[in-house]
Assembly symmetry: D2
Homo-oligomer: 238 residues x 4
């Protein structure tokens, strides 16, 4: 069994703007639980984490960068059997939001329920072929957003540490167009893999920091083993 | 596999004051999901019912008789491995609430989280030995409440159609001290049993009405078969 | 003093999908209170209606036609000093949503917080000059939506009984492109005016039904008197 | 005009467990707005603070010490024309809760809606004659709670920095039976008085710390002037 507890929260600051859980269990598509209140006081979240079992799950606590605290703005986001969650921000999002929304294909345009830059990144990933070629879609999407930001003369950074999964594979990206890519850590323990925005315990040697501008791919093989690979993004993304 | 979908809702009226789900799955104690909003617009409830599997579950939609719409007032209620949900009302509850609360043992007094007559009935059941002898505890509790209502000169009826379960057994009661015991129906289909406050489909022959003032006991045997028995309460309860 | 209690709710069906209040009091812009839960169990709404005083207010209870129950989807909607609320539906909204959103000017595009056809109608009104010439903007917007529906071969009706106000004036429209324009009633009593989707009491002679395809304009004069006018829309809107 | 913005929050820690507002305006009884979510993301709270005017208001953000995040557990609490809010904790509350609840008169017993030690303190104040003699009721209530804590052998401290008002008077208490009475500050500026658990700005000379174990009484006179007095509690409370 393996599990991805990628609790995306920054090292500083309160993440009380909603939380969510996505998990793959007995169905081909993942379950989704999202709540706009703080995770720390959500009795249902506590119940679910007592009952659910999953070989691959996403967990997220949100610190809003602007969009209101409603469940449709909470991560993870889902499209068919895919899950996505994000830590970071498209700087001055309002300046590029409309133009980027026009780049969506109709299915991705319709799938959005909320108003966040994060969900839009996911929708762009889907438009750009996430299900056929995830790595290529990630690169194309980062490029596309950068192009629009430049065109809109946005100086604020674009930070995108995120994870996307299809139930068998996780791609986790730590990336920014400035020097402050939101952190990403991994821990392998027996046949478990944890990817997290910050260490979940205080034992330093448990956790390896994923370097900025890199992508981690973890795949669950038929024998139950996890196969990992890591590469850099910066050469391809301008 | 068997399942008890006892959606306790009256034949008339809107049940938009919260909903809840209790289910026994992989753990010795049941999971609990409760939400103060209408069940019809709860995306998490829809998700959970897509993902969860259970041999015995409780589902409830609430129409408040006074207590506020907060999740702690939503059914089912849980005590250790036991679940309880209720349709009905202690008439003029305010007149007997304090005196009945004094009858609780300390554990049952502490276990309450909300403010409903329903939860108080469950707490009294626990105080009166539910876990040792459910039928005796049920009779003692109905009697006890009636005695306090008489003492407080309450004329409004006491109606109690409810279900209680321990994971292997369900006891379902249809009872009132007037002629309007809230309805209770059962349906057996293959090795499934459904107990519901009203038929879940329009096919009349699918459903058998449980007569007023009776108790149904359903037990899941080791061979996966359900053993049913039914008896009357009215002789014992005054 | 006058007051517009336009509780937009259909004659049938439960309106438990959120409620809202917009009121003009001591500030040039109206206050807004919106809650995604049922109005009947909202303690804050009860408090506010005990405390607030207003010469012009909007009240709305929502029955969703699809968009989720979150406060940003609750009426009234506000733009600067303007309020808007709506009863009805753009049939097969998904077929025209994207094309209509492209018709918005940038300010109106950004102002939207939610995902409803109602808010989009308001945003189109703003784009089409609501603040300069309300009646012309209303006609242009209805026309524009009809054109897009025809182009998308939508057969379902477009129904729009709505009210819009700027603090001194209310324009209330009862309109549909089929024979079932959602109802609209008015009551004048002393110097009070009530516009409501259905009568608020059972006394028939209190209420006058506004005929379909008409627009009511009520204006608060400097002397505190209300001046009313009524005209038809159907000649201008195709 | 005067205003009491007593935002009760400790100097450390996140207060994201609900917020509330009580205000005296045009009615003899105060309005109450309470919400179980974090104040920082509550759009209705922002609206209300833009619209409401009041000569005396209470504002509170909550950091739960155990009771669940539901609006009935949010401060301020109200009884008729009185408001109450609290910062602190009855140590090991579970050990004395039941015995203290038995001390309530029937009206105060019924008035409670939630489950907090704070609301119970207010209910005891009411039972002990708050409306006739506030200072005596405060002393009697602190004594009564201390007696029960000693009897239950509670070693954890009892901390009670709180404010109570009737619309014309505020009594603010900073008290603890250990050395860590939650802080209380006051600022007088023109004819405004602010009482707050911590300074609302960074200008040190604006704020005077109220010493531990003292009670501040502020009274709004007919001429609009505020009359202040301060005395100590420790001599009377054991």
């Amino acid at each position: 069994m393996w599990a991805s507890a990628k609790i995306l929260s920054a090292k500083l600051g309160v993440h009380g703007d909603g939380g969510g859980l996505g998990w793959y269990d007995r169905k081909p598509f993942p379950g989704l639980y999202r709540n706009a209140g703080p995770a720390w006081s959500d009795p249902n979240l506590r119940e679910l984490t007592s009952q659910l079992e999953s070989k691959l799950f996403f967990a997220h606590v949100r610190a809003s960068t602007g969009a209101p605290n409603i469940f449709v703005n909470c991560h993870p986001f889902r499209c068919d059997s895919w899950l996505f969650m994000h830590n970071g921000q498209i700087g001055q999002f309002d300046k590029v939001k409309r133009a980027l929304e026009q780049k969506l294909d109709d299915d991705s345009y319709q799938m959005r329920q909320g108003d966040t830059d994060s969900e839009l990144i996911f929708a762009l990933l889907c438009t750009n072929g996430l299900k056929r070629n995830p790595v290529q879609a990630i690169e194309a999407t980062l490029d596309q957003i950068l192009v629009h930001m430049r065109h809109a003369e946005v100086k604020a950074p674009f930070r995108a540490t995120f994870a996307v999964a299809d139930g068998k594979n996780i791609w986790a990206i730590r990336w920014s167009n400035d020097a402050h890519a939101p952190s990403l850590y991994q821990r392998q323990h027996c046949d478990h893999l944890l990817l997290a925005s910050e260490p979940l315990d205080d034992i330093e040697e448990n956790w390896r920091e994923v370097p900025p501008n890199s992508i981690v791919h973890a795949q669950l093989n038929a024998d139950g083993q996890i196969q990992m690979s890591q590469s850099f993004l910066f050469e391809k993304v301008a």
